[in-house]
């Protein structure tokens, strides 16, 4: 059997570091010790999210298609076993446990201030031992059906997915993470085992532990519990996505006091994923355009067009990217028009050195801060690994970013022909 390969990666701004371990089982493990912390946070994730509905295994000929919502469904089911479910086991050792499914990953996590070893054993054990029958799958279809309903009562959630639905023709990012009642009704136990077998292969997963722990403690358990999987790689296979949008406006009626809106620009790129440079540069641009110190924000606030819920975000993942502006407004169309105008003006005048240095300083502070949360750290390590980035590289990128790069990105982004506005508002009585 081969040995674990351990590397220590240090950051000189923070004066701390983490261990990156190529585990002999084929799993990538990260340990970020912070021995002055009371809590320990562990997350075990697979690069398998709601968008992975069409894929090809390295050992198969054909592409497999699965119903929307399968990743999320599988996440729910993994907590069960023949005997005690994972929650009942964690209750005995005193951890707070959860899991989540996003567009591009599924993660199982817990946080505790004691009994780390026992909790960690539970995590590795239940994620590695799937158990489901046709009967338990049936029961879960009802439960998740309810969950889908509940999200339909959430104006922000609806607003975002309506926006994505109007923006994307084929990309599965447009479908609710939990799927639809129809799609989840097609899920079978056999299908879940097949997906598990494909995506929960250790070579497709990552494990990160941060906080009050040591490498020895983590590896002590991992060496004992993790056995090598037959290596399988998975190829994501998406249908082609045209550059054009489906429609530029979408509206839904829900009982909300102030209309909720999301406004964004669909982007098309050759490479499926955005680099860290692009990601950070775009966040800076969004902060300059519509952040709280922007003239636009003050104008919208003074004119009664937005409130404190107004925010920006660079929404992106595998084969999708869109800068978004969202919030509540009595007049979303006017907000969208003013955003377009402000972007147009900035494209003409370009970002000044002074503006750039101010937001860069702010971004640096935010990055430093992010490194005090054990949950942000552990999740950050897993996510960075899935996109082949190194956790600390953000510091270098912020330091080396130059204004020309940012201005270039500004000028070529925000194509008005691909802008979409989504609104959720109260039904107008005629």
């Amino acid at each position: 059997m081969s040995e674990n390969k351990i590397k220590y990666i240090e950051n000189n701004v923070l004066e701390e570091g983490y261990y990156s371990i190529e585990h002999k089982s084929g799993l990538q493990i990260f340990v970020y010790p912070k021995d002055d912390y009371a809590s320990t946070y562990a997350v075990f994730g697979t690069k398998y999210g709601s968008i992975d509905t069409r894929f090809k295994r390295s050992d198969r000929e054909n592409f497999t298609e699965i119903p929307a919502g399968t990743a999320h469904f599988l996440e729910h089911k993994l907590f069960e076993s023949e005997e005690l479910d994972a929650f009942q086991r964690y209750a005995k050792t005193g951890a707070s446990a959860n899991a989540y499914t996003s567009f591009d990953r599924t993660c199982y996590l817990f946080t505790c201030t004691g009994n780390f070893k026992e909790n960690f054993e539970i995590l590795l054990d239940f994620v590695r031992h799937p158990y489901f029958t046709e009967e338990t799958v049936k029961k879960e279809q009802g439960i998740i059906g309810q969950e889908i309903d509940m999200y339909k009562d959430s104006p922000e959630w609806e607003c975002l997915f309506n926006l994505l639905d109007a923006m994307y023709v084929n990309h599965p990012v447009k479908i609710d993470i939990a799927g639809t009642k129809q799609s989840i009704s097609e899920i079978t136990a056999e299908m879940l085992f097949a997906c598990y077998d494909t995506f929960y292969n250790l070579s497709n997963m990552a494990l990160a532990v941060s906080g009050n722990t040591t490498v020895e403690e983590v590896l002590g358990v991992a060496d004992r519990l993790l056995t090598k999987d037959e290596e399988v790689t998975v190829e994501r296979a998406f249908l082609d996505e045209p550059a054009e949008i489906v429609k530029d406006y979408v509206e839904e009626n829900l009982p909300v006091a102030t209309p909720v809106f999301a406004f964004g620009y669909k982007e098309s790129h050759d490479a499926p994923e955005r680099t860290l440079q692009e990601e950070i540069a775009m966040s800076l641009i969004l902060d300059i355009v519509a952040g709280q110190m922007s003239p636009l924000y003050k104008e919208l606030l003074d004119d009664g067009l937005v409130n404190n819920t107004f925010s920006t975000e660079y929404f992106h993942g595998y084969n999708y990217a869109a800068p978004l502006f969202s919030g509540e407004s009595v007049n979303p169309r006017e907000v969208a028009a003013r955003i377009k105008k402000a972007i147009g003006a900035l494209k003409d005048s370009l970002i000044t050195t002074e503006q750039f240095e101010t937001v860069r300083k702010k971004q640096y502070g935010k990055t430093v801060r992010a490194f005090s949360d054990v949950d942000t750290l552990a999740n950050g390590l897993v996510v960075s690994h899935f996109v082949n980035e190194e956790l600390f590289s953000e510091f270098e990128v912020i330091k080396d970013l130059d204004l020309d790069f940012v201005n270039n990105l500004l000028v070529r982004s925000f194509n008005e022909n691909t802008a979409v506005l989504s609104v959720v508002c109260q039904k107008q009585d005629n």
Partner: protein, 460 residues
């Protein structure tokens, strides 16, 4: 970091409720070596200092404790007003620019209700000085900025600026309206309103829309002056900061204010006489059932530990009866959890259900409480709850912000306890204590929000 919390889909139905817990007592301290000190600065003014090594951030906060009364809307408007402009930084752009230059320092303005007190909290949190590019003191500038905003507001003809007041009124009204749109919050608020219709506690922490509409620049300035003169004030400095400098600055600002402290005492109603029931309909898909209980407490410390452990077994965590029986086994609720409001001696059970299950769910929830009274729970249930509480209380020492919240949540009484003090009490709780705590509970109010929208797909 490539990490976006907003788009997480949490696994379990209790998720959002269990972890978003504003309960003042829900956090605690671990092994991070920190020191807490408090001193009386002047009449009704306390100054607290939390020092620790190694934190990446620091924060300074100032809290104003006010009796919850008909001025709630006026008081609630003040934090927004103060963080929007000041003499030195006349508009939001100037303030935000200053914060950005302080390496993205964050300004917090918070309005909460603890018992029958309204608490306004303003604060700045920033990265530690060792991360500054040019050796400047970020923390010193941040505390200066905070005091500048709080004590030197922008005035036009001796009162707040009309335009800003109108804008803040709109923002506060929209915040209130958002609580109506969020049906989970709405149902909880309605249950409180009905349950406390004859008590001060029934007043919403943000006041009412009607009250907000009556606010003028003059009346708001009067309210601001009243806050400075009559509220109990707590300043808390956490992280590596120059405490003495903060103390001096505070003395400078407070020196010229004539103080006349007003404190209120929270009414504790030990038992409910009978059950009030109220139902409303809304075109939403999921129904919301909220039940309000009286805990039998005479004050916030009255047998608190036993009651807290009992509530945890009943509906506090994934191993609780509400979760394992009502949700998992009976599949009656999408989410179902119980929360103890220590400062008022009451408990709320919140659940999301199919509206046709209302009767079954109500019955099942009450049955779980009966089961605890009968002693139908195991020693490992007690152990699990004590462990879970210990876990959440301990983790508070991991950041200056959580330490600040922990200690400042106790600023009404000013009797500052450490998380360990509570953990020790939880460990002493016996089976008999838990049964007694459950026996003290009486159901006061049920509020049902019936969903009348179709449950199926809405995609056309």
């Amino acid at each position: 970091m490539k990490f976006n919390k907003k788009l997480w889909k949490p696994l379990r139905r209790y998720g959002n409720i269990l972890f978003i817990d504003n309960n003042t007592e829900n956090i605690g301290c671990g092994k991070m070596k920190y020191n807490f000190n408090s001193e009386i600065h002047s009449q009704g003014v306390e100054l607290c200092n939390i020092t620790a090594q190694g934190f990446k951030s620091a924060c300074v906060t100032i809290s104003f404790v006010l009796p919850l009364d008909e001025n709630a809307a006026h008081y609630a408007l003040v934090p927004g007003m103060l963080t929007r402009s000041s003499e030195k930084y006349p508009d939001v752009t100037c303030i935000e620019r200053k914060l950005a230059l302080l390496y993205g320092a964050e300004l917090v303005a918070d309005i909460t209700k603890t018992g029958e007190n309204q608490i306004l909290k303003l604060g700045v949190s920033c990265i530690d000085d060792r991360f500054a590019f040019d050796g400047e003191s970020i923390t010193a500038e941040c505390s200066e900025l905070l005091f500048e905003l709080v004590f030197r507001p922008l005035l036009v003809n001796g009162v707040f600026a009309q335009k800003d007041v109108e804008s803040e009124k709109r923002l506060l009204c929209e915040r209130l309206a958002a609580e109506i749109s969020d049906k989970r919050v709405y149902a909880k608020n309605r249950c409180e309103e009905i349950m406390f219709s004859d008590e001060t506690y029934g007043i919403h922490r943000l006041g009412t829309q009607k009250d907000i509409e009556t606010i003028t620049p003059e009346s708001l300035y009067e309210a601001y002056k009243k806050i400075l003169s009559s509220a109990k004030i707590c300043v808390c400095v956490s992280g590596k900061t120059d405490y003495q400098a903060v103390k001096n600055t505070l003395a400078k600002y407070l020196g010229c204010i004539e103080r006349d402290l007003v404190m209120s005492e929270t009414l504790f109603v030990e038992r409910a006489e009978d059950v009030t029931y109220k139902k409303e309909c809304e075109p939403v898909k999921q129904g919301k059932l909220v039940m309000g209980f009286r805990m039998g407490m005479r004050d916030a410390d009255d047998n608190y530990a036993a009651r807290r452990v009992m509530v945890d077994i009943f509906g506090g965590s994934p191993h609780s009866k509400l979760f394992t029986v009502v949700r998992e086994k009976m599949s009656l609720c999408y989410y179902c959890s119980a929360r103890l409001i220590r400062a008022k001696g009451v408990m709320f059970v919140q659940s999301g259900i199919e509206s046709y299950n209302e009767e079954k769910a109500t019955e099942a929830i009450l049955q779980q409480l009966e089961d605890i009274k009968k002693g139908n729970f195991t020693d490992s249930d007690i152990e699990a709850s004590v462990k879970a509480l210990e876990d959440s209380f301990k983790s508070v020492s991991d950041s200056p912000e959580t330490l600040d919240s922990w200690f400042m949540s106790q600023c009404v009484s000013g009797e500052y306890k450490y998380p360990e003090d509570f953990i020790d009490e939880f460990k002493k709780v016996t089976r008999a204590d838990i049964i007694r705590a459950a026996e003290d509970v009486t159901l006061d109010t049920i509020f049902m929000l019936e969903g009348t929208a179709e449950g199926g797909e809405t995609d056309e």
